[in-house]
């Protein structure tokens, strides 16, 4: 079933149009890459789909229900329970250990301390960073931090994971390891993934690619559709 559906999304920051009419569907368990050159609206689209930003026009539906008209509290509850987010720089809480960071979303959702810690340790292990459980982010490498952030994004077993350049700060090999695990675990639990990237080789991990250009869809990739005049200017 379609998890997320966006219709005619328009979003401007003051006079700057970032999205100029985007329509896209994200299926259950589907991994969709959103690619575009810098400044073409990738992050804005991701934030609209995740209910972080409200579009100026158009609609976003979550499993058939309009999401963009919900209150901030309702959207934030949805983000806590059904969505996971992962950014370029993991954004772990500096004062907490890896295990505490990963347990945090569960604690916020009302899980007990012990169960949350157990789950956190399981997920750190799945991401190959069990060693880091009691270490604070400042003492970890970028790759280790990003794996912890991935564990934190997946620990609630979200239905959709929003990842904005999740490997952008890592070298090729470290990025690849994070991504391989992210994709494998997402597939195992049928989590849909919206993967924002400007790199073709990262987009290649997805089932489908949506290519933006200046706020509109330039073309979508899987070889079935005819290309619009790609980069036609």
């Amino acid at each position: 079933m379609t998890q997320l559906q966006a219709r005619g999304l328009v979003k401007s920051y003051g006079p700057t149009p970032a999205l100029r009419g985007i329509t896209v569907d994200i299926g259950e368990g589907e991994i969709v890459a959103v690619t575009a050159p810098s400044g073409c609206g990738k992050s804005t689209l991701l934030h609209c789909l995740a209910g972080i930003l409200r579009p100026d026009a158009g609609e976003v539906s979550w499993r058939g229900h309009r999401l963009d008209t919900w209150s901030e509290a309702a959207r934030s509850r949805l983000r806590r329970t059904e969505f996971g987010v992962l950014f370029q720089f993991g954004q772990l809480v500096a004062e907490l250990t890896a295990a505490e960071n990963v347990a945090l979303p569960l604690l916020l959702a009302g899980t007990g301390r012990r169960a949350a810690r157990t789950a956190a340790l399981t997920w750190l292990d799945r991401l190959g960073v069990a060693d880091c459980a009691d270490v604070r982010p400042g003492e970890m490498s970028g790759g280790q931090q990003q794996r912890c952030a991935t564990a934190r994004a997946l620990v609630t077993e979200p239905r959709v994971l929003f990842a904005d350049e999740p490997t952008g700060a890592l070298d090729t090999l470290a990025g690849e390891q994070v991504l391989t695990q992210l994709v494998r675990l997402a597939r195992e639990q049928h989590t849909s993934v919206v993967l924002v990237t400007h790199e073709p080789r990262i987009a290649a991990y997805a089932d489908r690619e949506v290519v933006l250009r200046d706020g509109v869809i330039d073309h979508t990739g899987l070889g079935l559709d005819a290309p619009l005049a790609g980069g036609s200017r």
Partner: protein
């Protein structure tokens, strides 16, 4: 073009018949274009002529399939030298992708060149996805991953070039016809 050295390398692991060499090649390099038997025998013939391999067994009587080949001293030296020499890093720019855009701009117009670039970008993207699936499959061996990595890195480089050239092709056309 490195087939002779590859055969020398395989023979360094032990004496082999032509068909064993072909099999060893195809299993060591599963992603490479498979070697034709004819190519194996032709290459072995030249290596033997140059004294880099020696044949053992009843060659004339039983035909090439019965002949086994061994690396000679000289063959070993040639192999060592090849292993320690650095390949010239892209001395010429002669990709068929590049050439095709040049010719499109000569004989046709920007749209023709652009249509080609878009179609090639699509084909590259699909292959990139295929290879990524291959290397991330749970059954992938290090052999698979390393071979896929090589192709992925080159496709990725081509894709970057295709992207930037799409943006430059109009300027390029103007320059070609000025």
């Amino acid at each position: 073009m490195s087939t002779p050295h590859l055969l020398l390398g395989l023979l360094a692991t032990g004496t082999m018949h032509g068909y064993e060499l072909k099999r060893a090649h195809d299993s060591r390099l599963p992603q490479a274009r498979p070697l034709a038997f004819g190519q194996v025998y032709a290459t072995l013939g030249r290596l033997q002529r140059d004294g880099l391999v020696a044949s053992t067994g009843p060659e004339r009587l039983a035909g090439p399939d019965r002949t086994a080949y061994t690396l000679t001293e000289q063959g070993r030296a040639t192999l060592d030298q090849w292993l320690s020499s650095v390949e010239p890093p892209m001395p010429y720019v002669n990709s068929p992708l590049f050439t095709k855009v040049v010719v499109a701009l000569l004989v046709a117009d920007v749209d023709r060149a652009r249509a080609y670039l878009v179609a090639q970008r699509r084909a590259h993207t699909e292959r990139l996805r295929e290879l990524t699936a291959l290397k991330t499959a749970p059954s992938a061996t290090v052999d698979d991953v390393v071979a896929a990595d090589y192709a992925i890195a080159h496709l990725d480089a081509d894709l970057r070039w295709l992207h930037t050239t799409l943006d430059r092709v109009a300027d390029w056309h103007r320059e070609v016809h000025s």
